[in-house]
Structures are given as C-alpha cells and as structure tokens.
Amino acid sequence: MKEWVGLLLRLVVGGVWIVAAGLKVTDPAQSVAAVRAYQLLPGSLVTPVGQLLPVIELVVGVMLVIGLLTRGAAVISAILFVAFIIGIASVWARGINIDCGCFGGGGADPDAASQYPWEIARDVALLAASVFLVWLPSTKLSLDSLLFRRTPVSEGS
C-alpha cells in the first residue's frame, strides 16, 4: 500500500517539477530576473543560480517520475522546497511584492502579498510529499526496482 502511495507522490511532485521547469527552462534570462527579484543572493550568485535552477528542477522531476534514485532525488526536491519556502517567507516579511517565479514569470507584482500564503502552503505540501519519499523511497513501478533489485538470496543449498 505504502508503495502505491509513494508512486502517486512521485508522479505528483515530479510532475510539478517538470511543469515548473518546462515553463522556465527556455528563458533563463527570466529565471535570473526572478531570482534577482528576491534580493537574497549576492549579485555574483544570482546568474548561475537562475540559470541552473530550471535545469535541476527538470532533472529532479524526471528522476522522480521514472523513479530513478528516488531517495536522492527526493532529498534534493525537499531541499529545494525548503529554500523556496524560506525565499517566499523572506520577501513576504520584508514587504517585497514579487511574483514568486515558481512557474515562470517573476519580478514585481503588486498583488503578490495575497499569493504568498497559498504559495507557501503549496510548497509545504510538496515538501511533505518529498520527505515521505526520502523516508520510503521504495515505490511501485520505479526504475530503481528494476535496476537495483536485490537478487533473491538463495537459502543455503
């Protein structure tokens, strides 16, 4: 049963990553601008982070969906969600109104403050799903179960 729940969570979290990355990966300039708008990272880090994030999101999403190195992918997924929650909470606390840039977009957005609670709630839910997969990474229909299956141990002879 838990393995089926794991499969569902893998598909949901991985799917969200793939969609989020797909909307950003073709326009790194926008992604860099979205990262910059958080005013959290020093200038020299903004560009590499903005360029790298969509790529990592895409890779983590694909790994989760096909169930490849599920635990490792889920760990990175969880770390990213923690970082995003901190980022959104921080702009909220500082009174900066920006589009979170979660699914493309980014930059100033006058109505952003009303979105923050919902965005944080969404990221907390996805974080919980990721943590579940770190805890129980063995799931149905995963590539892991094909590649890394323990050959049944023969009992004596």
Partner: protein, 247 residues
C-alpha cells in the same frame, strides 16, 4: 574470517558463499548508482551550459546616451568619461526606488562632468493598453521633451517619480499629469491639451519597440558604458555601487 569458516562444515561454507555473493551484489549496486549519478551530473552540467548560452540578460545592445537622443532625456556633457543609460517605466516601483537613491548623486556627477546619463522611459507594465498609466505618463513625458528643453523634461521626469502611484493604482488622471508638467516649467498652452488627449501614444510605441529591439526585458535596466550594470543583492547595493563606480 571466523574460526567456524575454517571447519569443513557445509553450513558455514554456504554462509561464506552467501557473504561473498552479497558483497558482489553491493559492489554492483554501488557501481551502478555511481554510474547513474555521474550521468545525471553530466546532464545537469550540459543543461547549465545550454542555459547559460540561452541567457539573454546581458545581451542589451543600446546606443550610448547622447544629448540628441530621440527617446530619452540626457543630463551631463557629451564628453563625460562614463555613460549611463537607464531604461525605466514610470510605474515600476523599483525604478522609483532607484530614482530616490540615485537621482541627486547622478545629477551632481553630471554637473561635475563625470557622467552623462540618459533616462529612457518606455511602456513595460502597461501592456497593450494605451490608457494605462505607463503609456500616459511616458507619453506626457515625450510631449514635454518635444515642446520644452531638456531641463524641463528632466524636472517633469523627476516629478513623475516623486508622485509615483502604487502599481495597483489608483492612477493620476491625464489632467493631473499636465499639472505636473506645468509645475516642471512647461508652457501650459503648449502641453496641456496634447497630454490630456494622450497624444504621446505613438512615441511610446516607438520607444517601447526601441527598448525591446535593444533587448531590454525588465526595468530598471542600467547600462554603464554599453554594458548591463548589475551589482549587489538589494536595490540599495545597486544604487550605491553605481554611484561609487562613477565617482
């Protein structure tokens, strides 16, 4: 190996074989995991370089500022050692913040002949709506720029930022923009009616197209001697670092 292994006991031989099998199994697993991790890292690295090559953030190729530019107001002499272009939208809150933090310093540096600054307003936030504040304010600016000298246009530009509305509104009416233009020193009979009739729309369309063609995607975009200038974490850093560069 335990003492037990050295005996000829069948069970212990089987246990040893089992252990060996498990060790090999672990080895195979580790090799495979390592291989997969390696491939994934390569994919990420490749994706990063691809992403870098697709990043157009700094591909802004705008003209240098000049006192005869069509789409901006310029302060400072043509022979200043540093040239700055600031693309902005009168509605954009960060442009307003940048203005607050840099306006007096830039004006002083321009007076001292250390920098030439051109402010190029365009419509970033108004979309296709000709009645949006971004379009009306930039249009009013173009009318003042056309009818009056640069000093009045700069003063009007400054007043627009001093009276910047919230990005979500409410927005000043065009007649209020005309009031500001008059306050800046523009001749009321020359500017009021064109501003109130929003006759600057064509200019704004052209200025926006010029900014887009130059590769400007966000505001404020600052060019220092032809290169996109970005620095520090916050807007404060950006403003301070820019001024420091120009001293």
């Amino acid at each position: 190996m335990s003492k037990k292994n050295r005996t000829n006991d069948r069970a212990s031989r089987a246990a040893a074989a089992l252990e060996e099998q498990e060790r090999q199994e672990r080895r195979r697993r580790n090799l495979m995991v390592g291989g997969v991790v390696g491939v994934i890292l390569l994919i990420i690295l490749g994706g990063y370089f691809l992403s870098r090559s697709l990043d157009t953030t700094t591909d802004v190729t705008a003209d240098a500022p000049s006192s005869s530019s069509e789409f901006g107001v310029t302060i400072g002499p043509d022979d200043a050692p540093n040239k700055v272009v600031i693309y902005e939208d009168f509605l954009c809150p960060y442009c307003g913040e940048l203005e607050k933090r840099t306006r007096d310093d830039l004006a002083q540096l321009a007076d001292d002949g250390k920098v030439q600054v051109e402010y190029r307003p365009f419509n970033l936030l108004g979309g296709d709506d000709d009645e949006s504040y971004s379009v009306r304010s930039a249009g009013a600016f173009s009318i003042v720029l056309d009818k009056e000298d640069a000093a009045v246009a700069k003063k009007f530009h400054d007043l627009l930022y001093e009276n910047q509305p919230e990005e979500s509104g409410p927005f000043p009416k065009s007649s209020e923009l005309a009031d500001l233009a008059v306050e800046a020193g523009a001749d009321e009979s020359a500017v009021r009616s064109p501003i109130e009739n929003n006759e600057g729309v064509d200019w704004v369309t052209k200025a926006t197209k010029a900014a887009g063609d130059a590769g400007v995607q966000s505001t404020p975009t600052i060019l220092l001697n032809g290169e996109v200038f970005q620095s520090g974490t916050t807007l404060d850093d950006l403003a301070n670092d820019l001024i420091a560069k120009l001293q």
